[in-house]
Symmetry: C2
DNA sequence: CCCCGACTGGACTTGCTGGTCCATTTTCTC
DNA sequence: GAGAAAATGGACCAGCAAGTCCAGTCGGGG
């Protein structure tokens, strides 16, 4: 969706086998990058992992490594929201919020200290607007889903009508993001949980008087 | 404090001139790294910026680039908390919290999309425990300061006594961290502000009944 | 003032990695 | 089934950047 500007001319001229290979490269590369980080990952690593040759890499990604990394970034970004479904799409009761919370925690605890997007972003980040666009779009979408969830709560009379849904969603998103970041460094998911739980508590407290911690 | 294990033997045998040069290297390197990111920064860039020679770099950092990056990371980490003083040390009234909030926002808005620590962490990150230790210690200290601030509020009767200071501090720290991260990607400080303000609002709401957005 | 060790300069080596090229095989299309 | 286009294999190249080395200067303590 984002990379669709430059290389989609090729997308058309891809045979079934070609598409399969391309996908294999992207997925394999994603794996390698998650495991050892982009700083030390070479094209040969990816080649080895995906059972491909140098020429294949450049056949499918003519603009070289950056383009490949970008494709991987897009691949990872797509997974982020997918992995939160269907919960993220139905945040209309407190139970669904709790389920979503658990899904998020579970997803990132499983991921451990591998930070596919953060690292990729920093790798390609400054070079082109490409990576930035991917991350920005992801954040926008994510926040939108959260805000919609908060509005659902409001419509169900579960939170105060005076609550600014977008603002709350922004804060919550920041908390998640930071929680994940901290977990990358420390290996501890305490902060992520604290951010999620505190945010939900804040929402709940908006209606009834005092905040139950 | 953290790097003090391996190379401090050298620290002793440093003359005044030597210390000055070493400091110049670290500060200069920090500047270059902030500006162009570690992925594309070479020792020659640092050499040029600091007016030093290759041999000097390796004279002061015998273990090479990694050691230098680690020193820079420590240098940057030290600044993070320093830049929040004296506010971070005196979070006992709502006014002081507000001042601190403004200081944080101002600091990171000025920093823009340069992420000294995040990028450095990812560069050296997985290689050794060194970088990880630096970040972990920074987070620990930061959270501790925030928790102490919350306890000050409690002692002054400004927040609910049932509030878990450490948990709130963890959530707040995550929010800040994520806000900064998002600002790196999008260039927009909305999330950082939302995280800070929402967290403070949550603290205030813990005492009186309903939460004023 | 002199001498040893810290400090500096910069040429050189070396390994690696992204990227190129062309020859060969497979696959689609007519 | 034949020709073209796509897919694949792998040798090869070029540049760059980390790290080495030694020769020369400086500086301070005895």
């Amino acid at each position: 969706m984002v990379e669709g500007r430059h290389a989609d001319v090729m997308q058309d001229s891809l045979t079934a086998k070609g598409r399969a290979t391309r996908a294999r490269i992207v997925e394999g590369a994603a794996g390698v990058l998650r495991e050892q980080g982009p700083a030390v990952t070479t094209l040969d690593d990816i080649r080895a992992r995906t059972g491909t040759s140098k020429s294949q890499l450049f056949h499918y990604f003519p603009q070289g490594k950056d383009q490949l990394l970008l494709a991987v970034a897009q691949f990872e970004a797509d997974r982020v929201l997918e992995d939160q479904q269907p919960h993220l799409g139905r945040l209309d009761t407190w139970e669904s919020w709790q389920e979503w919370r658990d899904a998020v925690v579970e997803r990132y605890e499983r991921q451990g200290d591998e930070c596919p997007l953060g690292s990729l972003f920093l790798q390609v980040g400054r070079s082109g607007p490409g990576a930035r666009a991917i991350v920005t779009e992801l954040m926008r979408q994510w926040q939108e889903d959260l805000a919609r969830g908060i509005r659902s709560l409001r419509e169900n009379g579960l939170v105060s009508p005076s609550l600014d849904a977008d603002r709350e969603a922004a804060a919550l998103l920041a908390g998640i993001q930071g929680g994940v970041t901290i977990m990358m460094s420390t290996g501890d998911s305490t902060h992520l949980k604290a951010a999620l739980d505190t945010a939900v508590a804040h929402l709940r407290a908006s209606l009834h008087g005092t905040a139950p911690v």
